[in-house]
Symmetry: C2
């Protein structure tokens, strides 16, 4: 049995780094199932890597909150729980609300232009697949991602884009997140950008919080 090929990434990255990125994807998309045990020898063989390199990647995955490790026992993929999902959205509401306010305060013309262009692309794409969920692909992610980038707070950007969003994606992939009606999500996104453009941080924060809270309540309803 030949070793599986790593995700095609810059080969300039170190092996542990490529393992980390690849495994992160496998976990997020559920190809390594939530709650399952990680076998170091098996994974190392699978990617033609030594256990040492693999372990460095596992350490990073643990820090990311995607793995839980116990001494002399090994690593398991975290479980997906309703509580975890609700907690996640609660934190997102606070942080992305803040990101919106900051984006409005520091609003730069480039950011505004890019945000509108992105929304335009989403609109186009949406019309194409008429009715299909605007949320399903990366469209929604693009939006939230961009907003956060515009906040100008590196810690906030790192916390959301390099940590929490992987959890969000993991829940979406595996619990099949709710797809709010495309129309509505699109209009909400549009209003948020407007508020940012006007430099109205207070309104932008309020709209984003409401946007996320609506998703959260949608989830709560769906879970009952």
């Amino acid at each position: 049995m030949q070793g599986e090929t790593l995700q095609p990434l810059e080969p300039s990255l170190s092996l542990p780094e490529r393992l980390f990125v690849t495994l992160r994807g496998e976990i997020v998309e559920g190809r390594i199932p939530a709650g399952s045990k990680i076998s170091e020898p098996e994974l190392a063989r699978r990617f033609n890597a030594s256990r040492g390199s693999l372990r460095e990647a596992l350490m990073r995955l643990e820090s990311l909150g995607l793995l839980e490790r116990r001494v002399n026992v090994g690593a398991r993929v975290v479980d997906l729980t309703e509580r975890g999902l609700l907690d996640l959205y609660e934190v997102r509401e606070a942080l992305e609300g803040m990101a919106c306010r900051l984006a409005a305060q520091h609003r730069s013309d480039e950011d505004i232009t890019e945000l509108w262009q992105m929304l335009g692309r989403h609109e186009q794409q949406e019309e194409l697949q008429a009715g299909r969920a605007y949320f399903q692909p990366e469209g929604d992610f693009d939006f939230h991602f961009r907003i956060v980038q515009a906040s100008n707070n590196d810690l906030l950007i790192d916390t959301l884009c390099n940590r929490l969003y992987y959890r969000v994606r993991m829940y979406r992939y595996q619990l099949g997140m709710p797809s709010p009606r495309a129309q509505r999500a699109f209009r909400e996104h549009s209003h948020i950008i407007e508020a940012i453009e006007m430099g109205d941080g207070e309104l932008a924060e309020l709209l984003m919080r409401r946007h996320i809270r609506a998703s959260r309540q949608n989830i709560e309803k769906k879970l009952r």
Copy 2:
């Protein structure tokens, strides 16, 4: 030269874990200076560990945001910047405000009792060292730590207690954080607990945000 002894921890923890905890402390307290380069062979010798074990610890430190690594070059301790400090307080304001609101919503009698007891100890201690900064030792941390614990949101607890607070401590140790007048901080803490006790989440959040924002403005003033 004999190897330095690791921090005395549960010996049941793995070596990389103990290295991680020890190094985290060294970096936070500035014994490994901010911005300095990490030499793997040197550190490994210093703690009588192999480079492999050390590298696993370094990976975790990088994920914590205390190290920056570049391929084939090595790791450096992060720099402390004014911007980073202000960003940090901005995020704290949002997250700890949220923690307060949740603590008020889920308020349990045990939490309230513990919070008052803790404040009592702080008062006692403060009277003892009459006028000496209440903020300097771990007093302030106890308070914020406890509040967050009472929020009942595991993700929030992890983000603040296992990630951001290490940065806060690092800045405090090394930039000599502002010590707001003990009296005032104490009174503010007291009011926050009252609001939580009354189950008034809105007020609790507002007070905590103001509390942290005051610290932030204090820092801004001191930096000019």
